[in-house]
């Protein structure tokens, strides 16, 4: 029974990391940009939820999605579009700059101290199923993640814009040569990364009950590691990588001797360093990303 509970924990964290890795992987696949400012999309959504405290839950969540999507689109338009022809290192540094800028805007408006927020307190309960106690939040997270993954799969397989995005992810220059609008595809990727970030923010807020201006930072690091483990440039890889990193983390937490547990992350990242030495292309190999034009 304990094992089942651990498995649910593992899938839950795997789902969270998968969403985070997808947000980072999506932008990388169309732009060769590792967007470290993705974390601030999470922060923006979380602070929107906080700012609308007292409003109906639907409005708070909806507004948070809108805020994250808008911030993502503004980042793209103002910071990244003018640099689209720049080399990846320049883009990377720019994403750090955007990240710090947004963080300190949040400090300016809301202060630097962590703030307590209550979102959907009903979800902190557990449903009893025989001897099993199923935390509702975890169940909801897994369900929402699965629904999002299904919707994204449908979008990328069936919708014209989704197919255009897959083409652009594989060969951006050629995509333009068949008439795919570069701006449209990239803006769509940023908008989607905003949606993914908002869902993550809901989980973070509901689970921890606090928000702070640095709340996105750790998650984006794990997202980056997950995307690399999955295979940079492949969306399936990003989802699998996130799942793998999350589940491994929970497994280590459960099965490491208690005195070693404080060093769980050292073991976690050590494992993935070893993995990447053996398989540097990641889980899912995607033909090398050409330099974009």
């Amino acid at each position: 029974m304990n094992l089942v509970q651990t498995a649910i924990d593992a899938i839950n964290l795997g789902a969270i990391y998968a969403l985070a890795a997808l947000g980072v992987g999506l932008i990388f696949s169309v732009m060769n940009l590792i967007n470290f400012a993705h974390g601030e999309l999470i922060t923006a959504a979380a602070f929107t939820v906080y700012a609308l405290d007292g409003q109906p839950v639907g409005i708070r969540l909806g507004a948070a999605v809108v805020a994250a999507v808008c911030l993502a689109l503004v980042m793209e338009r103002v910071a990244f579009r003018p640099l689209r022809k720049a080399n990846p290192a320049t883009l990377l540094v720019t994403s750090f700059a955007v990240s710090y800028l947004v963080q300190h805007l949040v400090v300016l408006i809301f202060g630097a101290r962590p703030i307590g927020v209550s979102l959907l307190p009903e979800l902190s309960e557990s449903a009893a199923l025989g001897e099993l106690r199923l935390p509702l939040l975890e169940i909801a997270t897994i369900a929402v993640t699965l629904a999002l993954l299904a919707a994204m799969t449908f979008f990328f397989r069936r919708r014209p814009l989704g197919i255009q995005m897959r083409a652009a992810a594989e060969d951006f220059t050629m995509a333009r040569l068949v008439g795919i609008k570069a701006n449209r595809v990239i803006a769509a990727a940023f908008a989607m990364s905003g949606i993914l970030a908002a869902v993550l923010a809901f989980y973070q807020v509901a689970q921890s009950g606090t928000i702070s201006y640095r709340m996105g930072v750790d998650l984006v690091l794990v997202a980056f590691v997950s995307a690399v483990v999955g295979g940079m440039g492949s969306l399936t890889g990003a989802a699998l990588g996130g799942m793998l990193v999350g589940m491994t983390s929970v497994a280590l937490q459960t099965f490491l001797p208690p005195t070693w547990r404080p060093y769980r992350d050292a073991f976690l990242f050590g494992l993935f360093i070893a993995f990447l030495i053996g398989r540097p292309q990641g889980l899912v190999f995607r033909k090398a990303h050409r330099v974009r034009i």
Binding site: P160, I163, Q164, R166, A167, E170, D171, T173, M174, A175, R176, L177, V178, G179, I180, K181, A182, R286, K287, I293
Partner: protein, 239 residues
């Protein structure tokens, strides 16, 4: 015959190195024109510049008299210019069908697109058999056919082909060139870059010889075939 594309005194450089040094060519509606020349002559650069991937330092590019320099590649596809780049660049993780449909991205008429897909599949029957397969699984020749079909799906006025015969068996190359001739009778204008001079001169109405960024010789194919110093021009002895 009206002029479809005119290129005048085109200068293009890559990171300070001049690739094209004042190239002028002109193509009439319905012509099949070849650009030949050795490696590094600037043939691909010329095609890529026409397709909007390079911005020239100097010179002019007119499509039906309208300047097109500075327009994005995706915009030029809508204006009727389709490039099949060297190395084909099909979307390997997408299906053959998705590749073909993506060719029609800039078009709106659903019915016309559907008719054109049927046309492509009868033009290249092998693609019909592979319709639902991943394009990456196709052989080199099949990929070249797919790349051409994808370009044709945009219903271009001007088709730019960069080394379509590279790495293909002679029999397949024959079949490809037969297709180009066929498409021409349908009113398509084709500008093809070739390393194989003989092949190019057999199929094309006219040819330009490009060498180190300059046009060194040009004329009708049957005239060029008789030029004594053709090989010299090709290999660079004539200036």
């Amino acid at each position: 015959m009206s002029v479809l594309l005119s290129v005048d005194d085109l200068h293009v450089s890559y990171g300070g190195i001049a690739a094209l040094k004042g190239v002028s060519i002109s193509i009439d509606d319905g012509e099949l024109v070849a650009i030949v020349g050795p490696n590094g002559a600037g043939k691909s650069t010329l095609l890529r510049t026409i397709a909007g991937l390079n911005v020239p330092r100097q010179g002019s590019l007119l499509l039906r008299g309208k300047p097109i320099i500075g327009l994005a590649p995706e915009r030029l596809v809508a204006d009727g210019i389709s490039l099949v780049p060297e190395g084909r660049h099909i979307f390997g993780s997408l299906t053959v069908e998705e590749n073909i449909r993506l060719g029609a991205t800039t078009r709106t008429g659903r019915l016309a697109v559907k008719t054109d897909i049927e046309r492509m599949l009868s033009l290249f029957p092998i693609l019909k058999a592979r319709f639902r397969q991943r394009a990456g699984q196709l052989s080199g020749g099949e990929q070249q056919m797919l790349a051409i079909a994808r370009a044709l799906m945009a219903a271009p006025r001007l088709l730019l082909l960069d080394e379509p015969s590279l790495g293909l068996a002679p029999l397949i190359v024959d079949a490809l060139y037969e297709t180009f001739t066929e498409l021409r009778t349908g009113g398509l204008t084709v500008l093809v870059v070739e390393q194989s001079i003989r092949r190019a001169l057999r199929a094309a109405d006219r040819a330009y010889v490009l060498h180190t960024g300059r046009i060194v010789l040009s004329g009708r194919s049957e005239e060029l075939r008789q030029v004594d110093n053709f090989d010299q021009a090709y290999f660079g002895a004539v200036t």
